[in-house]
Amino acid sequence: MKSVIYLDNAATTRVKPEVIEAMLPFYTGNFANPSSTYKVAQENRACIEECRKSIAATIKADAKEIYFTAGGSEADNWALKSAAEAYAMSDKPPLCNNKNTVFDNYGYTGRKCLKGHIITTKIEHHAILHTALYLEKMGCDVTYLNVDERGIVRLKDLKKAIRPDTFLISVMYANNEIGTIEPVKEIGEIALENNILFHTDAVQAYGHIPIDVNECNIDMLSASGHKLNGPKGTGFLYIREGVELGSFIHGGAQEMGKRAGTENVPGIVGLSKACGLAEVSMKERTIKELSLRDHLIDRILSEIPYARLNGDAKRRLPNNVNISFQFVEGEALLVMLDMEGICASAGSACTSGLSTPSHVLTAIGLPEEIARGSLRMTISEDNTFEELDHVVDVLKDKIFKLRSVSPEYEDYIRRI
């Protein structure tokens, strides 16, 4: 992808050469199934357990609390659905203090109807939102908390929403569209006080900001490999020890019987390598990203009129820039950027190239005409100041062109 300027790292990231190098031997060399009896299989077994251990350390968890998945969406689905099933089975949130003996190793649940109450937010990724909608159909009640104009969950709203039958709170660690970092520690405290499970979708945050599941009282956490220079189709769900959930994928005994399927050894190795690299480089890398990010934001806000930054200037992922340009059709802008070899996005990527107004921008109170003119650019340490300067120049040119044919802009200028 040499001829493009890639600014869509929230959608996916480049796989680092070291990651590929670490993975290859498991394709070209020892391809054995870790569950088999013989020596080479046992080597792979040991290998993935090592990976599990090293990933656990990155969030201060225990190895046995890490479950490998095929990505963040799967982890999100797992966390919500299994928590709901467990609650419906037992009437108690499946927390450490409530010993649930209803599950055997294979987690057979047997019940169909769900109940109870989940609290989440309006700005979650669709993998959480659509799962929550599904659970609502299956019998759960769900409260979707509003956020303030920066995208931050109001803690008092959260407290007010809690009911006796609330068994799960799911709030994302940081938002994928506007980069807002949520008050996860405080939410964890509230969950703990009220004996409620706390899950966080950390897909965008993990690898970019330090996470300590104990400090924040997190019970479950979703992460995805391809957001941190790892392979696509990999990820993990952290489940605190003592949280008793049923199986998510039934079948073989892999992942403690909770998530069957032959382990994706090369994927896990790649994921682990990526997680390790991300941890080691985090401090320095994020300083660099922050300065690139702020340079981009500063230039845009000072050189392009009628532009606003979405989210919070400070409580924001180091790589996230999200700006609304008034009197501009974001869709047209994206196409024009593509013609100049610049890759960015308007909403989130997960709607298969469809162009839908962002639920996140709506939740922070942006009127539709402003939300339509939004652009998300998520940088990486690979970007340079020269590249970003070029992007700003292109933006100025294209936005000028779009505004010059916009009847709303003409009206506005005439009136002032």
């Binding site: 059709e329 869709e331 196409v335 024009m336 593509d338 190239g353 469809l354 162009s355 062109k401």
Partner: protein
């Protein structure tokens, strides 16, 4: 420098081949699929022949990839709802029979899409319509019938303005339908055998009465079938279920075929009669668009189509008011329907058109 054209790609054969032909002709082609479906997350429109749903996007992308052109999806949900869906429902509610394709062409494809295409730097838009755009000797642009008379789609294009036409390319109109399918097969498009879309693209199961009831929340009460003398013949299930000239689905056994003559929303009656009673000689129409000519002062002789499937009949057209014309046919014409378009032709060329108010 190469001229840039945005081709509206529905994922069907015609628009796919249109894109290919324009690329062959040397244009810088961009494929665009309009996102018009209202269902927020998943498309409920049927797989085969459903225009502009998720599977349509996938088909269009595959074709774009095969041909070697970029492809984008553009969101016109709001414009489509306001100009096509709301119009559609409103017309039925007022006992007229709408033509949503005409509204979509005028306000969505040739307005919203054309504007977006020009914003991103295109010189033209193109579609896979069986029609041609010609510049006439008098300097005006006009839509001209395609070579495939069978599949002529000019009826739905009468409402386009000169400005819009000057920025339109329609490559498919020069070919026969079979030739188009053959080109599609030759270039290896798997959609070569895809059936043509037939129904209203936003009404999933073609049950438009159900759609209108559900979307509007209104109920359309039963009323009386009456004959031309006012005698009650039976009960109808709600005025939106009927259109002028309709024979099927009336639920009346009169011992002979009977037809809908007229809808009377004021009294919620549907007038029934014999086939001969559905024929009339005159109609009035408003919301005129002139195409091949720039003014209508004297009476003119044209061939008029009063429906997409109508073969056309000779008539005289004269202006009765600022925005009203009266058409007098030489022979009685069957089932003139308020709300439908009357489109005037001079041989192959669209002279203009208007929306039918009533028959006389």
């Amino acid at each position: 420098m190469k001229k840039k054209v945005a081709v509206g790609m529905s994922g069907g054969v015609d628009s796919s081949v249109a894109a290919f032909l324009l690329k062959e002709q040397g244009y810088d082609v961009i494929g665009v699929t309009m996102q018009i479906w209202q269902d927020e997350d998943r498309c409920t429109i049927s797989e085969n022949g459903g225009c502009c749903g998720l599977s349509a996007v996938e088909d269009a992308k595959r074709v774009a990839d095969k041909i070697g052109i970029p492809h984008y999806v553009m969101n016109f949900k709001k414009e489509f709802k306001e100009n096509v869906i709301d119009y559609f429902m409103d017309e039925y509610i007022h006992a007229r029979t709408p033509n949503p394709c005409i509204a979509c062409n005028r306000y969505v494809k040739w307005e919203a899409l054309l504007n977006r295409a020009m914003e991103i730097g295109c010189d033209y838009i193109a579609t896979g319509h069986y029609a041609r755009v010609k510049k006439l000797d008098n300097g005006r642009y006009a839509i001209c019938k395609s070579r495939t008379d069978r599949k002529d789609q000019t009826y739905a294009l009468y409402n386009l303005t000169q400005e819009q036409l000057s920025r339109t390319l329609m490559p498919v109109g020069e070919y026969e339908k079979e030739e188009i399918r053959k080109i599609a097969a030759d270039i290896g498009l798997s959609i070569a055998n895809k059936p043509d879309s037939q129904e209203i693209c936003f009404v999933p199961d073609n049950d438009y009465a159900k759609y209108i009831r559900e979307q509007s929340g209104l109920s359309f009460p039963e009323g009386n079938f009456v004959d031309t003398s006012g005698n009650v013949l039976g009960r109808h299930k709600g005025i939106i279920h009927y259109t002028v000239g309709q024979r099927k689905g009336l639920g009346l056994s009169m011992g002979k075929p009977v037809f809908v003559l007229e809808l009377r929303p004021e009294t919620n009656e549907v007038v029934i009669g014999d086939n001969e009673d559905t024929f009339h000689m005159k109609l009035t129409a408003d919301k005129i668009n002139l195409m091949a000519i720039d003014k209508l002062e004297d009476e003119i002789n044209v061939t008029a189509k009063i429906r997409y499937s109508h073969k056309g009949a000779p008539c005289k057209v004269r202006r009765t008011k600022d925005d009203e014309v009266e058409c007098t046919f030489f022979e009685p014409v069957r089932a003139i329907t308020p709300g439908q378009a009357v489109v005037f032709y001079n041989d192959d060329i669209v002279v203009g058109g208007a929306t039918i108010k009533k028959f006389m």
